[in-house]
Amino acid sequence: MEKIKSYFSADNRQKAKESAQHFVRVHKPQHILFIIFRHALLIGLCFVILYPVFYMISNAFKPALEYYDPSVIWIPKELTLDNFWVVMQLVDLGKVALDTFLVAIIPALISTVSCMLVAYGLARFNFRGRGLVFALVVLTIIVPQQTLTASMYLQYRFFDPLGIISLINMISGAGIEINLIGTPLVTMLPAIFAMGLRAGLYIFIYRQFFLSLPKELEEAASIDGCNAYSTFLRIVVPTTKNIVLTVVLLSVVWNWNDYYTPSMFLGSKMETISMSLAQFQERLKNINNLGLGMTIDTAQTQVQAICLLSIIPLVILYILLQKNFSESIESSGLTGM
C-alpha cells in the first residue's frame, strides 16, 4: 500500500510529466511516427505468427459440433476435452512418446555432444587436412538427404559396416544378416558419429563459437600441465552452456519435427509424433468408414488437438531455454563476427 501511495505521489507525477515532455522534445515528429510504424509492423507480424497457435488452442478445446457454428469465433461456448479423448483412442500416445524419445530426442542430445567434439577439434588444433575436413562438413550440409536415401536404405537393410559382417560370414560360414530398418539405430548411429540430422550446421555453429573464444585460458591451462583433453573438459566445456543449450533447442526441435528420416527407415514398426500427425487423417477417415458417428466436419477440432499436443513440449522447451538462446545470439560468435 505504501508503495502504491508513493508511486502516485506528487513527486512521481511530476517526474512522469517531465519524462513525457522530455520524450517529445528529444524525438522529432518523424521519429515518433517511426516508433509507431515499428510497433505496428512488429505487432502485425507477431499476430500472423501467433494466429495459428491461438487457432489451435481455440479449436482443440471446442466441441466438434461448434466448429461450424457461426456464433462461435474464438471462445468456445463450453470447453471440452473430447477432442483429446478421440486422439488418444486413435493414437497410442504412450508408444508414440517412447518411440519419439528413442528416435528423436536421444539422437538429438547425442548430436549436440558429438558435434561439439568435432567442432572443437576443427577450431583449436592444427593438423594436416583440417581445411579439407571443414570443407567436407560444409558439403554434408549442401547435399540433399534424398541423394543418399536410396543407398542408405539398402545399407541399413543389409547392414555391413566396411564389410566386417561379410568377412565374419565368410570365415565362419554363418549367415548373419543385420537389418537396422525399423530400429532407433537408424537415427542413433549417425548421431553418435556426428552425422545426424543437420549435424553439419551444428558443427558450423560450434566452430564459430570456439573460434570467437579467447585462446589465453586454454594456453594457461596447457602451461599448467593440462593435456588437450582435460583442458577441453575443465576449461572449455564450462564456457559452452549457452551455445550448447541453443544447439539442444534446435536439434531437439528439428529431430522432433523430422518426418522424412523416420518415414523412410522405420517402416511401420515405430511411430514418432511426426508420423502420427501425418497418419492421423488416414485414421480419422477409417473411423468415418466404420460409421462411428463422426462426420467429416467434426474432424478439424481433433486435428487441432493433436497438433497442439505435438507442439506443447517444444513450446515448453523453448520457453525454458529462451534466455540462453537469446544470450547466445547476443554474446557468442553464432556467426563468427
Binding site: 497457435v53 592444427n126 562438413v137 536404405y153 558419429f193 505435438s310 545470439i329 553464432l334
Partner: protein, 303 residues
C-alpha cells in the same frame, strides 16, 4: 619443410582424436552412400528377396530424365525460380526485421521470442497443417486430403463480418504469403541479429558525431560490416529453398518427386538417385555462382 616440434605433433594428434568420430561417420553415413548412389545412377536397381541386383545401363537414366521425362525438367525450373525469388525476398525481409529487432525499445524481448517461434512450429508436418489454417485450405488441392484442411480460419471470420469477397481474397493471400515468409526466415533473422549485435557501438557514435545520417550509416557502415552474414544467409537460403521438404503432400516439389520415385508406387531407386544427383549438381552450380559474385567481395572487405 620445417619439422614440427614435439608439442605441435602432440596437439595435431589430439586434433585427430577429436574429429575421429566424424571421420568414421562421414565414411559410413555419407561418403559410401554418396558414391553408391552415384553408381546407382548408371544402373538399374532391382530389389530381390535377400539383396538387390544392379544392371549397368550407362547414361540411360540421365538421358531419360532430361529429355524424355515430361515432368522432371519442369520441376527443376520451378525449383530454381522459387529459389531465386526466395533468396531475394527472404534476405531483404530478414534483414529488415533483424534491424528493427536490434533497436532498443520496450518489449523487444517479447518480439524476439515471438519471431523465433516459427523455427519451432514450422519445421515439420505441423507446418503443412498450420499453413492450411492460414489460407483457408486452398493450398492443398488434393481432394483426398481436403477434408482435413476445411478450416476456413481467418476467411470465415471475415465472411461473418460481411467483408467483400475481393478484399477477403487479397487479405488471406497476403497473410498467407507473409506467414510463409516468416516461417522461412527464422534462422536468417537469427543470424542477422547475431551479426548486428556484434557491431561496435563506438564506431556508430563516431559517425553520429561527424554528422552522418542514419540512412548513410546503414548503407555505408552496417551493410559492409555485416556482408559476411548476408553471404552466409544467401547460401543458407539457397540450400534451404532447394532442400525444403514438407510432408507426404509435397508431391509437387522436387524433394517429394524424388521420394515418390524411389519409395512410392513406382519404386525405381535408380531414377530416384539420378533425379537427386542432377538436382545436387544444379544446387552446387548456384552455390558456385553465389560464391563467385559475393564470396570474393566479402573476403575483400574482411581483408
Amino acid at each position: 619443410m620445417k619439422r614440427r616440434s614435439h608439442f605441435e605433433r602432440k596437439r595435431a594428434r589430439a586434433g585427430y582424436v577429436f574429429i575421429l568420430p566424424w571421420v568414421i561417420g562421414f565414411l559410413l553415413f555419407f561418403l559410401i552412400p554418396l558414391v553408391n548412389s552415384f553408381y546407382y545412377t548408371f544402373n538399374t536397381v532391382r530389389l530381390s528377396g535377400n539383396g538387390f541386383t544392379l544392371t549397368w545401363v550407362g547414361f540411360d537414366n540421365y538421358a531419360h530424365l532430361l529429355f524424355a521425362d515430361a515432368e522432371y525438367p519442369q520441376l527443376l525450373g520451378t525449383a530454381v525460380g522459387n529459389m531465386l525469388l526466395e533468396v531475394a525476398i527472404i534476405t531483404l525481409f530478414s534483414l529488415l526485421v533483424a534491424v528493427l529487432l536490434n533497436q532498443k525499445f520496450h518489449g523487444r524481448t517479447f518480439y524476439r521470442a515471438v519471431f523465433f517461434l516459427p523455427i519451432i512450429m514450422t519445421s515439420g508436418v505441423v507446418y503443412t497443417l498450420v499453413q492450411s489454417v492460414m489460407n483457408g485450405g486452398t493450398s492443398i488441392g488434393n481432394d483426398q486430403n481436403a477434408f482435413m484442411f476445411q478450416s476456413t480460419g481467418l476467411k470465415e471470420i471475415m465472411l461473418q463480418g460481411n467483408v467483400p469477397q475481393d478484399i477477403i481474397d487479397i487479405v488471406t493471400g497476403v497473410v498467407d504469403k507473409i506467414f510463409a515468409l516468416l516461417s522461412k526466415s527464422g534462422v536468417q533473422i537469427l543470424l542477422f541479429l547475431s551479426g548486428l549485435q556484434k557491431l561496435p557501438a563506438s564506431g556508430y557514435e563516431a559517425c553520429k558525431i561527424e554528422g552522418a545520417s542514419s540512412w548513410d550509416i546503414f548503407w555505408k557502415i552496417t551493410i559492409p560490416l555485416i556482408s559476411p552474414i548476408i553471404f552466409l544467409n544467401i547460401v543458407y537460403t539457397i540450400i534451404d529453398s532447394f532442400t525444403a521438404y514438407g510432408t507426404t503432400e509435397a508431391g509437387n516439389t522436387m524433394m517429394g518427386a524424388i521420394q515418390n520415385m524411389g519409395f512410392g508406387k513406382v519404386m525405381n531407386l535408380s531414377y530416384s538417385a539420378t533425379m537427386a544427383w542432377i538436382y545436387f549438381v544444379v544446387i552446387i552450380i548456384f552455390l558456385g555462382i553465389a560464391y563467385g559474385i559475393l564470396g570474393r567481395r566479402v573476403s575483400k572487405i574482411q581483408g
